[in-house]
Assembly symmetry: C2
Homo-oligomer: 854 residues x 2
């Protein structure tokens, strides 16, 4: 970016000085804003990023010239000023300029005690942080005096072979250089990159006249903010400590409260006038800076200075409350409120959370697969989880990995923990769908299913029934029960999302398979169901038996007979879904998984099945072996099953249409969307379409009822995307299943990728896990090709994505740019998606792409 | 196609009549050519496709007008004339025009016996084929007489309630209609479509004056050809039978040989002048029609007629010999010889074949996965195959499916038979690579490994050691030993391919992994190795142990130590390859398979491994479980292993470079091509490239030798094709691995596709198995995108394909059109690929796209 002004080495901050976030850092800019608001900020000089960078690489700056701004006997502080305050920086250094002469002078002016403490503090800080001497040699008592000072100066001289530097210019020069170098150190760099800073992020420094906060009565320092960091509600918080500097008040138990201190007079009571002025400053910041600020202040013989102000730290809940309250007060626009909340943050509001204040005994870590926290007794089988649920006990289901057979166990459990798998493993996907906290791929744990024990990476052995807490937000597992915070979907949250909906221009639906999930989708105000997987309708206890009968049937007629008995159950399922969605669209994916998922794999399971079905074990084993696959992901599933065993889709279509008729009212007709999975050739679509039309005609003629429906394709193979043009004439919508599409585009199984994904992301081979963030370059090109080819043939083609990516803001941005109609994601991600979509729409309007204040 | 003339309902064929293959059919056209050559063809009238089509749908043709061409008492035959003689057609009908009056007349002219036989033959044919009466009622003795005739006429009248039709025009009309309708019947349609005819293929009919072949002495009919159908060598073949019509001579044991009949006088001896004329006709056809023809002739009182001539039927071997001989004689151009041979036909020449004359007892059928035939004793384990090989016994390895652990067993066996898998299963691919006959996916068989028995679909139980013959050309398994024909790579074959190489404009390399396969590649004159898979270099007995040590090593150093011991063995492998290829390019693919392929899966295998490695069984089991994958095809393999365990590629690069130096001579430097598999991101290429450059530098500095090499990428994921533009700067070649690319584009595992592929192809969902013929629309688009994006960045980028498709003519056509440099396929498919490529180049030259004769 070209700068509109020349950057000097340093500049005195006044109302018009050329100071900006990206040249001098956020703190320098904020101080200028405070000056413009007439707040009593002590004289401050800002050093530019370029200056600091030069210092770090051995260059100089004219510190004598800087100090000339502060008069003959300067006493100053230096604080870091990075572009974004969240990126951190070296600690502040106070009382630069203290030397023997100044010490004597201040002893007269402020008293011996104050002068000693000012000098001791500086010598200590300088020795440890600048000269890098052993901190143990410079420990100071709470109440230092002249002897402490003498000892420290001696210690310095002994270590450095020179007396403590007396020249303020030399002192400042050393301080600035050490801070500049600290910023370039490896750990600081890694730390700020972890917080999202670019590798070349700059650091500015601000040199400010000290408000000593010591000496005469009515001297001290404090910190004040006007809202609660936890809740965002108005609440005066902070501390004040007499005879102190900087943020000392926050770390001293004797510091007084700002109002209503039960232990004695509060700041308000001691200095009502100063308190009132601080209150005014807070209100001014809120109105003029359009932000809730935390203010650092000092009193010197009753004279109030504002040394610094930073954005109030806040939880997700507080952030939403603050933004909504400011918009409701007119301090900011509603759109600005919508823009201020990080969409990913909303997830924190929708789950119970581990109370971060509680003690944590981490026994394992893994992938943070599904947010939220839960405490329960560990169980190693779905059966145990169900049994415990029947007794009303909370359990944590621990598995090597989960399979569809575990779904009932996961429904029964309060959280899931697996040894294997990544963000898009079966366990992770189901957990997110169910809103169940989940940690997956906890590689260090060892399960012994026979002994029913879990051994942690540090060798502790847990038995079935032991209590643990799974924190799916951070990917950790904690020993025992840990205090949890309840989720809080408050009015502010709803208000913010309604504002978001007003500007949003891409739809947001939820992936929901069951009545319970559909209810959750409605709670989060999804516009419909974008992906209803129908597998579970075949897995439940009574249905699984019929499904297995079908698999062992010798003929198409035998299969049809088993399926026919499933139809009424599925009609009931669909009716419930349609009723809860009350006319909103429901997109139903036809049967997708390979049949072997319905059969047991273990010897015991096979024996039980043979007994239950009255078949010889050898026949059951043979069938299971015949159905097993080398690469199930690429095998006989989806539309391939629909073609080779047409009875399955026919039964499903019959159930859907019957439910459609039952659930429709004249005012609110149900128009189901039927989606064909795993298509790779147009002829697959033609064939299935023909059969579904046949069933629709049959149901219409049998019932005399009329109904409408839409047919679409789930684009999950690269070929379906490439051939969208010839598929288009047969369907009215294309929904991109980006999970599978990503797998096939990369040739990478999401279940097996966990073993090397972290290496790949760390080494920058993939900039992000492509199952987490849409690969815009590769998979994205296929989406664009599919979309444009589909629309070229059918301009009204409805386009969407329904993979896990549906909830990711960057992926939403891509879909929006590509002209998609909606995204669909897990119910819990719907609020984030609504917000992200709104922010994208707002950023397209120029007014909201500029900073609000300068 | 627009016709240059108006098509009449029928036309008398003379030298200038408007008759063409696509209006009147091949027989009509051929007869016109014979007339132009002054051969004594009886008067012939041709009915056009349009006429016949009209007849089939109930229309009429003026048969009286047709018959007027044949005089007052016409006696004619009708034969079918389809566009391509291979498409078949209804049988000929002779003696139309016979009625009571004509019978009396001919009794005078030719004698009673001849007149009876002519009439009987017509009544019989008409009743059964035209009137569709019960054949049993119209059986005639070998030597019919007047009573036979009367009985037949009575039978006709009894069945039809009318006397046998006497009007020749009515007779002809009925015959023409019945033949027209037969052509439109379902079974005829299916039959000709199976032979490659389009659905709407037309039928013409030819009406020819009968040469009765009966009556006076020196009357009869016969068939003659001048080359052997089996070998293609000059040889007069055929039969002549006095007092016969049509092709009777071929079906009567008393027919005489044309020359040297040990049983009595031959045709040559009986009618030397007629024989000489037939010899002249054959020579004329060869020179002027540029084809070896089989001639159907008749003698009537010594007068010779040529009734018909068709292309001599021929085996693949004969086809090659005939084409080469004709070109060498100057009868056709060399290019024409090249164009005449179907490339797929060549495969029949390169393997032993079951003698089709032998009795066949088929015990199972499956996919014809690898051509050729072999007889041996069945074994159920690789170990048994190896043991038998050591004893010099031929075996057939029978497995449920094969895995890399079976490779040694497949090397030892003479053929392979599997219960599961398709054209691109492991067993099929390895078998084709080894030139080993193979039948895979023989679903009906049941293996009992414990009892060591194979149960056939019809319930026969074979024990280990029983003899069977596997016919991989037809996909059948025969009981016992069956006579086999040896392959014959004769001079004509080599000559034809050298002519092909002269016009070919796309390279053909072979996929060859071992010394033996490289030798085979050279035998078939491949230009180099396009894909050398290096896995086998890790699987052989002594190496497998080191490989397993590496897998169980705890550290990168431990892995490197195991690999270091493999390097000298691999250097020897590469040296042998480079030496046999003598300077031709060798493209080496770096290690590709997942590590679990190197570990046993069975309990016994695990126990043995634990013992051998001195590790606890639990540790071995845990490692095996940790490495197991849900979808190995999409897992930790290829470059992903190369990145996460860099030691493997580094050891391979070291072995390749060391062998390069050892094998290079100043006159013939070796320049290896190194190919990175399973790439999906450019950064993978950058990283591997950096490491390989490092090893090259190290080897150069250690040895002081200089060498050159090329680096390339195997494009197997859709993403690599899409991102070819950003991969291109790092590599000098892109080789498309169309097997994997097809799997990922379709989301379809080749190993699992067998279970439904046949249904898919039958229902026309896939027009062809995409693993067999390149999917031009989907996979092909990715090839084109990858090629054009790669070349846009690097115009000299070398492009190739190295999947199974490399040998398929249509796929070669695609690659040639896309500007690829070469294709690479199994050694046995190299000759076919060379020929197919030459034909493509020739077809692009206009002169060879026109028919040679008219």
């Amino acid at each position: 970016m070209q700068k509109p002004f020349e950057i000097e080495d340093f500049v005195v901050i006044d109302e018009t000085a050329p100071v900006a976030n990206d040249t001098h850092g956020g703190r320098a800019k904020c101080l200028q804003r405070l000056i413009r608001l007439d707040l009593p900020v002590p004289l401050t000089v800002a050093l530019s990023f370029a200056t600091v960078r030069r210092l770090a690489s051995g260059g100089q700056v004219d510190t004598a010239a800087i100090l000339r701004n502060f008069g003959a006997a300067p006493l100053v502080s230096v604080r870091p000023s990075s572009e974004d305050p969240d990126w951190g920086g070296p600690g502040a250094i106070l009382n630069i300029g203290m030397n023997d002469a100044r010490h004597a002078e201040l002893a007269n002016l402020l008293g011996h005690a104050a002068a000693d403490r000012l000098y001791v503090r500086f010598v200590q800080t300088y020795s440890v942080q600048v000269a890098r001497l052993d901190p143990d040699s410079f420990e100071a008592p709470d109440d230092p005096d002249g002897s402490t000072l003498t000892a420290m100066l001696d210690a310095y001289e002994a270590e450095m072979d020179e007396p403590f530097p007396q020249d303020p210019a030399r002192q400042l020069s050393d301080v600035l250089k050490s801070m500049a170098r600290a910023w370039e150190g490896t750990s600081a760099r890694l730390l700020r990159q972890a917080r999202g800073a670019p590798a070349e992020a700059g650091l500015g420094l601000v040199v400010q006249r000290m408000a000593p906060g010591m000496g005469p009565p009515e001297s001290g320092s404090g910190v004040i903010q006007f809202v609660s960091s936890d809740t965002g509600l108005p609440q005066i918080t902070g501390r004040y400590l007499g005879q102190s500097q900087g943020r000392d008040a926050l770390f001293d138990e004797s510091a007084v409260y700002l109002t209503r201190d039960p232990r004695g007079p509060s700041l308000e009571e001691m200095y009502p006038e100063g308190f009132d002025r601080l209150m005014q400053y807070g209100a001014t910041c809120r109105q003029r800076l359009k932000e809730e600020m935390q203010i650092e202040f000092a009193l010197d013989a009753g004279r109030l200075s504002v040394l610094d102000a930073v954005r109030v730290q806040r939880t997700a809940r507080a952030a939403v409350r603050i933004a909504v309250a400011m918009a409701e007060d007119g301090a900011i626009e509603r759109e600005e409120a919508v823009l201020r909340i990080e969409p990913g943050f909303l997830a924190h509001l929708m789950h119970r959370q581990v109370d971060q204040k509680a003690a944590r005994d981490v026994i394992a870590t893994g992938v943070a697969a599904s947010p939220g926290a839960a405490t329960g007794r560990i169980v190693f089988t779905s059966a145990a989880a169900q049994a415990a649920a029947a007794r009303g006990e909370a359990t944590i289901l621990v598995r090597r990995e989960t399979s569809p057979e575990d779904i009932r166990g996961m429904h029964a459990a309060h959280a899931v923990l697996t040894e294997r798998g990544g963000m898009t493993s079966h366990a992770a996907m189901v957990a997110r769908g169910l809103g169940l906290p989940g940690v997956v791929g906890a590689h260090g744990i060892a399960l012994n299913r026979r002994a029913r024990t879990l051994t942690t990476p540090d060798g502790r052995v847990l038995n079935e029934g032991d209590l643990v807490t799974v924190d799916g937000t951070t990917g950790t597992v904690l020993a025992g029960a840990v205090p949890l915070l309840e989720p809080n979907l408050d009015d502010s949250f709803r208000t913010l999302l309604h504002w978001a909906d007003e500007v949003r221009d891409i739809g947001v639906r939820a992936n929901a398979d069951t009545y319970a999930e559909a209810k959750m989708a409605l709670t989060f105000e999804a516009e419909g169901i974008g992906l209803c997987r129908t597998e579970h309708m075949f897995f439940e206890e009574d249905r699984l038996t019929l499904m297995r009968e079908m698999i062992f049937a010798e003929t198409a007629e035998g299969r049809a007979a088993s399926l026919e008995r499933l139809v009424p159950m599925q009609v009931a399922d669909f009716c419930k879904l349609f009723e809860v969605m009350a006319g909103r669209p429901v997109c139903i994916r036809l049967f997708d998984p390979p049949l072997h998922e319905f059969l047991p794999q273990s010897r015991d399971g096979l024996r039980d099945l043979a007994d239950a079905m009255g078949l010889p074990l050898s026949r059951v084993t043979r069938r299971v072996e015949a159905l097993s696959e080398f690469n199930p992901m690429l095998g006989l599933r989806g539309v391939r099953l629909g073609i080779t065993m047409p009875e399955i889709y026919e039964a499903q279509a019959r159930a859907i249409f019957t439910a459609t008729i039952e659930s429709s009212t004249p005012e609110m007709p149900v128009v189901p969307e039927i989606m064909i999975p795993l298509v790779s050739a147009k002829r697959e679509v033609e064939l299935v379409r023909g059969r579904i039309e046949g069933i629709a005609a049959a149901v219409r003629s049998e019932t005399g009822a009329s109904f409408d429906y839409r047919l679409g394709v789930m684009v999950e193979t690269p070929r379906a995307a490439l051939r969208a043009g010839e598929i288009a004439p047969h369907v009215s919508f294309l929904s991109f299943g980006t999970n599978d599409l990503t797998q096939m585009t990369y040739g990478l199984s999401r279940d097996d990728a966990g073993r090397f994904m972290s290496v790949y992301v760390q080494q920058g081979i993939f900039t992000e896990d492509p199952f987490h963030r849409l690969d815009v370059e590769g998979v994205g090109e296929l989406l664009q090709l599919g979309a444009s080819r589909g629309r070229a043939v059918r301009p009204d083609m409805k386009l969407s994505i329904c993979g896990e990516h549906g909830g990711d803001p960057e992926s939403i941005a891509f879909c929006r740019a590509a002209g998609f109609d909606y995204v669909s994601c897990s119910p819990f991600r719907v609020p984030g998606a609504r917000l992200a979509a709104a922010q994208l729409a707002l950023r397209d309007k120029e007014i909201f792409s500029r900073p609000l204040i300068d």
